[in-house]
């Protein structure tokens, strides 16, 4: 199959179409407008709905409504817009609605900027809205992976009756790479919960208010059990781990720059490996723990002030050294910046 040259945002939209997404609700914001642009053109051709809402709040609640009927539906936005949608996300998690949410993140807090940032890691993985809930979070590092993971997100959302987030940023959203439009076979899951009109069957109710004694507790326990079950979806990319004394970890588009730095270091003979979480929630705790038990140290590189590093530290429970190399949003770091830090880590004695 011949590749096409597309932006990351376009690959996400194409992945959604390939997975049979039929509804899109959103409100424009930089740097993700190529997603609605493409879907506005393509969804109506396929009998789908593209709707630019009056606000992010409206869009997210339209998504909630569409998802409750069992149709494949999505929204996309960027950081401040995702914050506005957070209330609906909490309700969707409570109602166990399958839907896909894309965050092409930009720098914050507040209006921040429009450059690439990973400052929304906490928001994505710990739940943006209120209550004990999580998204299942996937973070692509290439245009091909953006396509595949978006398509997969729709399956996972239905498999677990669960909102799934694609967390990416302006770097991947705006760059172009070859994409092979591999055919996707959407999986089918029973939808015995969907509100499709109660003709010839008893009515169904989706609710998030539980006032009876113990009701809310068992509701929460059910959700937690589901989150634990989602651990089997954990995915990582590991590279050059053999003989590594230091493992550099990063997620998303920044991981590409980090991988280059690891290549540079290996060429110079430094014992360095690379581990990229693809699922950010559930976090690949076991993968980190195994390496820690083998005695490697970690360097966690992020395009924020240090967020994923906390999950790495929790995963390994202080059994080895974990250093943080944060790059708050402004200019992107060069591979050489990270390479220098790798050398510094390896030369310094263990703490």
């Amino acid at each position: 199959m011949k590749p096409i040259l597309v932006k990351g945002s376009e690959a996400i939209a194409l992945g959604a179409l390939a997975a049979g997404c039929r509804c899109y609700f959103g409100y424009p914001i930089t740097p993700q407008n190529e997603i609605p642009e493409l879907l506005a053109r393509e969804l109506p051709k396929r009998g789908g709905v593209f709707l630019q809402a009056e606000s992010e709040l409206a869009a997210a609640n339209m998504l909630l409504g569409a998802a409750s009927t069992g149709v494949r539906a999505m929204t996309s936005s960027s950081s401040p817009g995702i914050s506005l949608m957070a209330e609906a996300f909490s309700y969707m998690a409570a109602l166990e609605l399958p839907a896909v949410v894309v965050n092409v993140a930009r720098g914050g807090p507040g209006l921040g900027g429009i450059e690439a940032s990973q400052g929304d890691y906490f928001q994505a993985t710990k739940g943006a809205g209120h209550g004990d809930y999580h998204f299942l979070v996937l973070s692509p590092a290439s245009i091909q992976e953006a396509y595949e993971l978006t398509a997969r997100a729709f399956d996972l959302a239905e498999k677990y009756r669960q909102p799934v987030m694609i967390l990416t940023d302006a770097l991947l959203g705006q760059m172009k790479e070859p994409l092979i439009l591999r055919k996707i076979k959407p999986r089918k899951y029973p939808k015995d919960w969907a509100l499709t009109g109660a003709k010839g069957r008893p009515g169904r109710v989706l609710r998030s208010l539980f006032l009876g004694p113990g009701e809310l507790r068992s509701r929460n326990e059910l959700l937690q059990k589901k989150y634990r079950a989602m651990r089997r979806e954990v995915r990582v990319e590991s590279y050059l781990l053999e003989g590594a004394e230091l493992v550099v970890s990063a997620f998303g588009s920044l991981a590409r720059i980090v991988k280059e730095a690891v290549n540079l270091a290996r060429e110079k003979g430094y014992p360095v490996g690379f581990l990229r979480p693809i699922t950010l929630f559930p976090f690949p705790e076991r993968e980190f723990r195994k390496l820690a038990e083998a005695g490697v140290r970690f360097l966690v590189v992020e395009l924020n002030c240090g967020q994923m590093v906390e999950d790495v530290r929790l995963s390994i429970c202080g059994s080895t050294e974990v250093r943080s190399l944060p790059f708050p949003p402004s200019d992107l770091p060069a591979p050489e910046d990270i390479y220098r830090e790798i050398k510094r880590c390896l030369r310094s004695p263990r703490r």
Partner: protein, 189 residues
């Protein structure tokens, strides 16, 4: 093989189009490619740049700070990017806007001064200096076969712009031939 090039100039000089086209050509030639446009609150008339990486292996970073080649269309871009060029690297420079004396300060780099805007104007398409410069870059670097650029151009132009194929092809050819004709003198070290 790994070839990293930064293309830079004023907004409106077709920098992103030229970079996109080079990436498309690389992809059609069977290479791995990344195309990274500069991205931010850009101003009209301000500088604009993009980074293209072509490789026969997996490309890790699309971000490049020490490129092997440059395509420079205006003076501010010359001043910003030439210092980043690796030693022995190639800079294709728009002589129509940048005097050759500028290169004196940067020994150890290969400069190819091309009257890109003038070549485009001679062909009757003054807005297509980007294609003349790209033609020169492709000729001097040999990074992709010129036919792939032309087939890439066909793929990039949407149906309503198909009539622009011929003008772009002609000016690209002029830039390409400029290097062939001046091969002994064009590249200054």
């Amino acid at each position: 093989m790994k070839f990293e090039v930064i293309l830079a100039g004023f907004g409106g000089q077709g920098i992103l189009f030229a970079g996109n086209l080079l990436a498309q050509a690389g992809m059609e030639a069977g290479l791995q490619v990344t195309f990274l446009p500069v991205y931010g609150p850009e101003m009209r008339g301000g500088t604009c740049n993009c980074t293209v990486v072509l490789s026969d292996r997996e490309i890790a970073s699309p971000v490049v700070t020490r490129p092997k080649a440059l395509l420079i269309m205006n003076r501010p871009s010359f001043e910003k990017f030439v210092p980043c060029l690796v030693r022995g690297g190639l800079a294709v420079v728009n002589r129509s806007l940048i005097p050759e004396e500028c290169a004196v300060e940067f020994p150890g780099r290969r400069f190819l001064f091309v009257p890109a805007d003038d070549l485009a104007e001679e062909e009757g398409h003054p807005g297509l200096g980007n294609m003349a410069a790209l033609g020169a870059l492709v000729a001097a670097s040999g990074v992709v076969p010129p036919e792939k650029v032309l087939s890439g151009l066909k793929g990039l132009l949407p149906p309503e712009r198909k009539h622009l194929f011929e003008p772009n092809r002609k000016v690209f050819r002029r830039g390409y031939e400029f290097v062939e004709r001046n091969s002994s003198t064009a590249v200054r070290r």
